[in-house]
């Protein structure tokens, strides 16, 4: 119940604190934390009426969103490149792989 942002026990300061904490944590190569941060606090930052600290939340939500977007683009690019070139890269690609499919080049 503590995680329910609708609960009256969660003050605005705590919300701002959570949002900024999540934003910081996301720098530890945790893009999904940023995504969660952006989605979770979106309503708080952009839908609700103005409250103290909402600017900060807005900032963090936007930055988290951008961060996770960059990561997503990066992942997709790497996946596409690896998938296209894995066979051509031969031994190098094999050493990069954890699971190599059976019966396929």
């Amino acid at each position: 119940q503590k995680m329910d942002l609708q609960s009256r026990k969660v003050t605005n300061e705590m919300k701002v604190d959570l949002c900024s904490k999540y934003f910081m944590i996301g720098f530890a190569f945790l893009p999904f934390v940023w995504l969660v941060n952006a989605v979770w606090f979106f309503k708080e930052g952009f839908v609700k009426e103005e409250f103290e600290g909402q600017q900060k939340i807005k900032k963090y939500v936007i930055l988290s969103g951008i961060g996770s977007l960059i990561w997503t683009i990066g992942f997709i690019s790497w996946i596409v490149i690896f998938d296209q070139n894995r066979v051509a890269w031969g031994a190098t690609a094999d050493y990069m792989s954890f699971n190599i499919a059976v019966g396929k080049p």
Partner: protein, 628 residues
């Protein structure tokens, strides 16, 4: 080939010729190999020499089924009932006036293989360790070579000094031990390799019976070798040559010296390529078409001429081949590393194989007119006896100074061996040479001969060949005063004699007098000089493969893919219309059910009168207090 190129073929089923509808429908000629077998590992570098001649290659009936990439399964079905059912289903549904109407008869063939691309890739992948359960993709082809020395080679001479084999002092007789075709477990070849194996062993036995008491001054021994995997770019001979060059033949003496006398009861002196005087290789020997034999000589010298003359003087009809190049043979491997070894290759063909079923499932006893029950006077048995006698005589004449008698090969043992190798594994010779706690006294004895394919582990074919070889060339170990007890303890005592020595190989076999209808009740200890040595390509040695250049062609690099069991199913396929209709109905039902369920839930209080009994129902309109 043409069918494959249309891209319309998804699978091929070949009905067997042993029983059923297609019984005895053998093609006039068929060979799965290429017209120039083993051309990439040939001694020669130009295609003309590798093939004998490109217009008249060694194996003109070669269709190259083995070395092509077929991306659909090809199944051989021997069972007459199954092939009959397949044909009936086809006749009933796929032909005739209703040929294009559904339902149609269909077959699903499953042949999952784990390896892909090439040996280097799959072997590398098999050796990447990233988890506690590594995935294997392929395995190198591997079995055992057999070698036999006519005279025991005790590493320590009677006067205490260690024995060193003189240069060019040992005559070598060589034959390949393996067969190949595209169907797994169906690799039994009569002309190649069975005639060679049988003749080699018979020759060794004849020489043994003749009892060489002493050799001429430039001879010290005669060695017989059966090499495995020769159909696949000479795997066995490559390994033997490699071992010899690594001072690992017959065993690594240096390792033994280091570990301070593992073999304290007897070692053998090292043997390498320099000790070889000449090689007499036995190729395909069957006289199915004609009894004419040919010799192909390479690096001819007086020793070879002596053998040729002696062979020509025998009743054997042997002529010089009109070719100037050596046919594909294991000798190529030896020549590549030591080009001046004299070679004499004996075969039943001059310019092109007389065996039109080389490396094919049809190279069997039937097409070569062999039947065990026809006895030892049948043509093929007499022919091989003649070859073995002539060869044994020629070798003894060249090498021995004093023998007890002139060598004569025994047609009875040749017939027995042919029965086991080419007709059935349920044969009397296997019962004589079997070990009491092994085949054929343990397990099921079916009627097929053992497959002669090298595969990735040791095979029954190799083990039984070794035991047959030992049986015919060994001395019986006389029992000492006290009995050795029951079969198991006798066997144990016999095999104990192998401990710490490598001069003799003691083998405990049942022997001719120790078995009856019910099984084996005793055994005999045989003292032989027949040994086995691992026949796996040097490319896969632990200290070689990581840096080995797989494109260099220096060693064979054939591997076999891991595979799950193959299976097939036959079924009637309904028309696409029916299949689409079924799918459409299913989809519609699913799509309909979603809003239907939603509405049912929404209006559940109206539809289901008893509203009070709705406890914990999702979407209920009356919110019930839920305790936190």
């Amino acid at each position: 080939e043409k069918l494959k190129n249309t891209g319309n073929v998804n699978g091929v089923i070949l009905p067997g010729i042993k029983e059923g509808k297609w019984k005895d429908k053998i093609p006039r000629a068929q060979s799965d190999d290429i017209p120039c077998p083993n051309q990439d590992s040939s001694l020669y570098s130009d295609l003309e020499s590798r093939c004998g001649s490109t217009q008249r290659p060694w194996n003109p009936d070669g269709e190259n089924l083995l070395w092509k990439n077929w991306d659909f399964p090809i199944f051989l079905i021997n069972d007459g009932n199954t092939t009959a059912k397949l044909y009936d289903c086809y006749a009933e549904h796929n032909t005739g006036p209703e040929a294009t109407t559904w339902p149609l008869c269909s077959v699903e063939l499953k042949s999952p293989m784990y390896a892909a691309k090439d040996s280097e890739t799959c072997y590398r992948r098999s050796n990447i360790i990233v988890s506690i359960e590594p995935q294997d993709y392929c395995e190198p082809l591997s079995d055992y070579n057999l070698y036999y020395f006519q005279t025991p080679r005790n590493g320590t001479q009677p006067d205490g000094r260690s024995f060193v084999q003189k240069e060019k002092s040992v005559a070598v007789v060589l034959a390949r031990m393996d067969a190949l075709n595209i169907f797994d477990k169906e690799e039994v070849g009569f002309d190649s390799p069975t005639t060679g194996i049988v003749t080699l062993i018979a020759t060794a036995q004849a020489i043994k019976k003749a009892l060489i008491r002493s050799y001429k001054p430039d001879y010290e021994n005669i060695m017989f070798m059966l090499v495995h995997g020769e159909s696949l770019d000479y795997i066995g001979s490559n390994r033997i040559v490699y071992d010899m060059m690594q001072e690992d033949f017959p065993m690594k003496l240096s390792k033994d010296l280091q570990s301070n006398g593992i073999l304290k009861n007897g070692t053998q002196a090292l043997f390498n390529l320099t000790n070889i005087k000449y090689i007499v290789e036995l190729g395909q020997l069957a006289n199915t078409q004609s009894s004419e034999m040919y010799y192909h000589a390479h690096n001819t010298n007086e020793d070879i001429i002596g053998i040729i003359n002696r062979l020509s003087a025998s009743p054997l009809d042997i002529k010089k081949s009109t070719r100037t190049v050596l046919p594909p043979s294991s000798s190529h491997t030896f020549l590549k590393k030591m080009p001046d070894i004299p070679i004499l290759f004996i075969s039943n063909f001059d310019q092109q194989y007389s065996n039109v079923y080389f490396h094919s499932i049809y190279d069997n006893a039937l097409v070569h007119n062999y039947k065990y029950s026809a006895g030892e006077n049948q043509r093929i048995v007499q022919h091989l006896t003649q070859i073995a006698t002539a060869l044994a005589d020629a070798l003894v004449f060249a090498a021995a100074a004093d023998t007890q008698s002139t060598p004569k090969a025994d047609p009875g043992i040749i017939n027995s061996m042919l029965e086991c190798f080419a007709e059935t594994r349920n044969c009397s010779l296997y019962r004589d040479v079997g070990r009491p706690r092994n085949f054929p006294y343990v397990g099921i004895v079916s009627d097929e001969p053992f497959a002669q394919y090298i595969s990735v582990h040791s095979s029954f074919h190799t083990t039984m060949t070794k035991q047959i070889f030992q049986y015919f060339t060994a001395d019986v170990v006389e029992q000492e005063e006290e009995e050795c007890g029951d079969v198991d303890s006798c066997q144990k005592q016999c095999l104990m004699r192998n401990k710490d020595q490598m001069v003799y190989r003691y083998q405990f076999m049942v022997g001719p007098d120790c078995h009856n209808q019910t099984g084996a009740f005793c055994g005999v200890c045989y003292k032989s000089t027949v040994f086995e040595k691992l026949a796996r390509s040097p490319a896969f040695e632990p200290d070689v493969w990581k840096t080995y250049d797989f494109t260099s062609n220096e060693y064979p690099t054939w591997t076999e893919s891991y595979w799950k069991s193959i299976s097939g199913r036959m079924f009637l396929q309904p028309s696409p219309a029916i299949q689409h209709t079924t799918l459409a109905i299913g989809l519609t039902l699913t799509l309909l059910s979603l809003p239907l369920t939603y509405f049912l839930q929404k209006k559940s209080s109206i539809i289901f009168e008893d509203g009070a009994s709705v406890t914990g129902a999702a979407g209920s309109n009356t919110p019930a207090p839920v305790a936190l």
